[in-house]
């Protein structure tokens, strides 16, 4: 067991010559095989962030509301009245590409553990998913499995899955993305951190037995591109057990609330290895672990397997002698294994024992903190252009039927309703959901308080591909804008950065640019980054995904009662466009769907205008001036208008919280509210191009449409002041009708738009 490992073994485990040399220097000679296995996991990209650590320091991470920034299991934000929200997002991309159901399920399980290990009761799940085009059977298989896995695990835990996003681009075909976000509520004085302390305290393992799950699993998979050997990686897949995790949530929260643990850490990537070394390193103590005392699901496991196993649903706790009996009682009541597997020491070493023999002796701090840091020289890719496309009739022939073009966009998988997915999720358990999936943001109330919280997930991978800096900045702006549309104040970000191989200069350039864009936007919007995750090596056969820095954002309400959604409400309401006027072809969904192209230079976010718009929008909502608000995103202005009209008649939105609304009495289906919209003059709206299709479908950041009762238009304009805005029409009838320059562009019944918008299930049949 304590045989010395060779350089060849190191290579097999994925270490470089440099890394091996450094290990030998730290260990004072050749490491044992157990030690080498531990280093190889802890120094993998997924665990050590060796390519990203130097760049991530750019993020703003602190602020008056921030109780815990990056570096713990989750970020924690004060939301008022003694309450705080713990929040984090994590990727489970590579496991999901191998076994989508279990990969997504265990992704949810893992991120939820990061929340309750700090003492927070998990109250929100949201998932940002990306696949290749649905015309490919394998992509339909992945979508089905991933959504099913999220539903299976999240529903069983009783955590509402209240939102997320799903996108389809060819670039994700070989590498789907599954970014699982979770949040939880905690009293500000009840936070537990993962810091081991107290020499002589017990190290206690709680939860499932340990098997060979994921050996070489998440960590190794996440540090390699996929190639032909994908099939052989299958045995590494973990299977989730949400029933055990539900029991674990109850038991651990009880332990924490009754102050029966000194600290707690969940076992995630690299299992016992990373949990124990991180706890020791944070606490500047040592840990002695007796691998032979770990309850096993499979006989004859070796100590290195036990240390790196990624069996799910396990927690590590530091417990004093006085607390131990009560801890055992709680675990027994919840039918959970509870085993003392080691103790805290003053050696500052992570020591692993196997039946009395010491098989590993590693300095804890150096293992956790001193992985190599690598900065690849970045190279701007050749495909990046500095000018927007020339929208000529030759390259971009104008459509003859704009109504049909709108229907085509609404039916596009990136825009179409994702109801097929979110109706598989319990979005209402815990009785806090105020705004269900389908609108701009998810909104929840806080019981026994007028306050509330809201969440959004945003990233446009195509935009980030065309310009990572502008695209990432826009992702932050959009996440905040979506919260503002719901009436919430954005306060913090958790980010999931999905990129290709960071050893390549072009990918590293994308990463640096994206981080810079995020940092600038977070500074301007005052939304520090409190936690997050980096997923590299999302490439197959040398082809990388679009750079996809997914932004998860938290917003808060002093009075959650002011929240609004995106649906048109009443005949005669005035429609006002706030913010930017011109829409662009570059990187738009219209460019992709109607012309099959992805090219150009996406517009930049004017952060000053963005901050002004969001502030005034929120003020208008808090003054209860608005009936609805909706961000203009993919598909531009026309799609945003169509979505507002479609939502007016669809069952299940907050419009039906009050059973006496006309929509509710009708039961929803078939009773639509349309609009008459005048886009004004083409030259004003679309700049030089002057094309009606660009006025309708061109995309730009910092644009919101709101509806307001006619008698409140005056007060609204007083709030807006000199923020660019224009009355563009009114809510009326059952058709959506748009005119420009005095000419009708199209008239389409909202019921037809609804059919196009709800057509996703047909693509999955």
């Amino acid at each position: 067991m304590s045989q010395r490992a060779t350089f060849e073994a190191a290579v097999t485990l994925g270490l470089t010559a440099d890394e091996y040399a450094r290990i030998c220097e730290i260990q004072g000679g050749e490491p044992t095989y157990v030690e080498l296995a531990i280093y190889s996991l802890m120094w993998s990209e997924h665990c050590s962030y060796k390519h990203s650590r130097p760049i991530l320091g750019r993020f703003p991470t602190s602020g008056p509301r921030i109780l815990q920034g990056p570096g713990e299991n989750a970020g924690i934000i004060d939301v008022g009245d003694g309450w705080a929200v713990a929040m984090k997002v994590e990727s489970h991309n590579h496991p999901s590409a191998v076994e989508p159901f279990q990969g997504a399920a265990t992704g949810v399980g893992g991120i939820v553990r990061d929340i309750f290990t700090m003492g927070a009761r998990p109250c929100v799940s949201m998932d940002s998913l990306r696949f290749g085009e649905l015309t490919e059977p394998r992509q339909r298989f992945l979508l089905d499995g991933v959504v099913g896995g999220i539903a299976h695990y999240g529903n069983c835990l009783g955590i509402p899955t209240v939102g997320g996003e799903i996108y389809f681009e060819p670039s994700y075909e070989g590498n789907c993305l599954v970014n699982a976000m979770a949040a939880g509520m905690i009293r500000t004085d009840g936070i537990v951190r993962a810091i081991a302390s107290g020499v002589g305290n017990h190290v206690v393992l709680i939860g499932s037995k340990t098997g060979r799950d994921g050996i070489g699993g998440a960590s190794v998979l996440a540090s390699q591109e996929f190639d032909e050997t994908l099939e052989e990686k299958r045995p590494s897949v973990q299977v989730g057990d949400p029933f055990t995790e539900k029991k674990l949530i109850e038991a651990c929260l009880e332990l924490i609330h009754r102050k029966l643990v000194v600290s707690m850490q969940d076992l995630g990537a690299a299992g016992l290895t990373s949990s124990s070394s991180e706890m020791a390193s944070k606490g500047t103590v040592g840990l002695d672990i007796h691998a032979d005392r770990v309850p096993l699901r499979e006989a004859d496991m070796e100590p290195w397997e036990i240390m790196i196993s990624e069996s799910q649903e396990r927690m590590l706790a530091i417990v004093t002698e006085e607390q131990l009996a009560d801890v055992r009682e709680v675990c027994e009541r919840w039918d959970l294994d509870c085993s003392v597997i080691g103790q805290v020491t003053d050696t500052k070493m992570l020591r692993i024992h196997w039946h009395g023999e010491r098989v590993a002796n590693i300095p804890a701090r150096r293992l956790a903190d001193e992985s190599p840091v690598i900065r690849t020289p970045s190279v701007k890719p050749d495909y990046i252009v500095d000018e927007p496309v020339a929208v000529s009739d030759a390259a971009y022939p104008q459509p003859t039927d704009l109504g049909a073009a709108l229907a085509l966009l609404l039916a596009a998988p990136n825009i179409a309703s994702k109801r097929w997915a979110w109706e598989q999720y319990d979005y209402i358990v815990q009785a806090n959901t105020v705004q269900i999936p389908g609108s701009d943001a998810a909104v929840l109330r806080i019981k026994d308080s007028p306050r509330g919280i809201a969440f959004s997930n945003d990233c446009n991978g195509r935009h980030c591909y065309l310009d990572p800096y502008r695209g990432a900045k826009a992702a932050v702006a959009e996440a905040a804008r979506n919260l503002a549309c719901a009436g919430a104040l954005p306060v913090a970000v958790t980010d999931c950065l999905n990129f290709g191989n960071p050893e390549k200069g072009e990918i590293y350039w994308q990463f640096e640019q994206a981080v810079e864009g995020i940092a600038e936007a977070c500074e301007a919007l005052d939304t520090p980054v409190v936690s997050g995750n980096v997923s590299f090596y999302n490439e197959s056969f040398g082809q990388a995904i679009y750079p996809t820095p997914m932004i998860g954002m938290l917003g808060v309400y002093d009075d959650v009662g002011v929240h609004i959604d995106d649906a048109f409400k009443d005949e005669g309401d005035v429609i006002v466009l706030l913010g930017a006027e011109a829409g662009w072809m570059d990187g738009s969904e219209y460019q992709k769907v109607a012309y099959g192209k992805v090219e150009g230079r996406v517009p930049d976010v004017d952060l000053r205008l963005e901050v002004e718009l969001q502030g005034k929008l929120r003020a208008a909502i808090e003054a209860r001036l608005l009936k609805s608000a909706h961000d203009c995103a993919e598909g531009g202005l026309a799609v945003a208008l169509a979505e507002g009209a479609i939502a007016s008649g669809v069952t299940g939105g907050t419009a039906f919280a009050d059973p006496d609304t006309p929509q509710a009495r009708e039961g929803g289906a078939g009773r639509w509210l349309g609009a008459e919209v005048d886009l004004g003059s083409a030259s004003i709206v679309t700049g030089a191009a002057g094309r009606p299709d660009l006025a309708l479908f061109g995309e730009a950041p910092t644009r919101v449409i709101v509806t307001v009762a006619p008698e409140l238009l005056g007060p609204l304009e007083a709030v807006l002041g000199d923020l660019p805005h224009r009355v563009v029409g009114r809510v009326t009838g059952a058709d959506l009708r748009c005119t420009m320059d005095g000419e009708e562009l199209f008239t389409v019944p909202v019921s037809e738009l609804h059919s196009a918008y709800e057509s996703l299930p047909q693509r999955l049949a």
Partner: protein, 84 residues
């Protein structure tokens, strides 16, 4: 021919159902039970095109199992058939 397919979790894969049932049985008074694994049992009748040899038929069923009836990532399968 009648085909009977037995599908079981792969060895080493976590079987949460089996583990839970194993824990529940003693509470009902049944001691001494261990190693509970829960799988699926599928019955079907297969009438292959004329001229299919027995070996080909077995190969077809094997492919059915591999592609649909079982999830080869986490499950093993075995089948038996009789010409009856």
């Amino acid at each position: 021919m009648n085909v009977r397919v037995h599908i079981t979790p792969k060895e080493g894969i976590l079987d949460p159902q089996g583990a839970t049932v194993e824990r529940a049985l003693p509470a009902l008074g049944f001691q001494g039970v261990s190693g509970v694994r829960i799988g699926k049992f599928i019955e079907l009748a297969y009438d292959p095109p004329a001229g299919t040899t027995a070996e080909q038929a077995r190969a077809h069923i094997d492919e059915m199992c591999r592609k649909l009836l079982a999830n080869p990532i986490i499950e093993d399968f075995a089948f038996e058939l009789d010409e009856g």
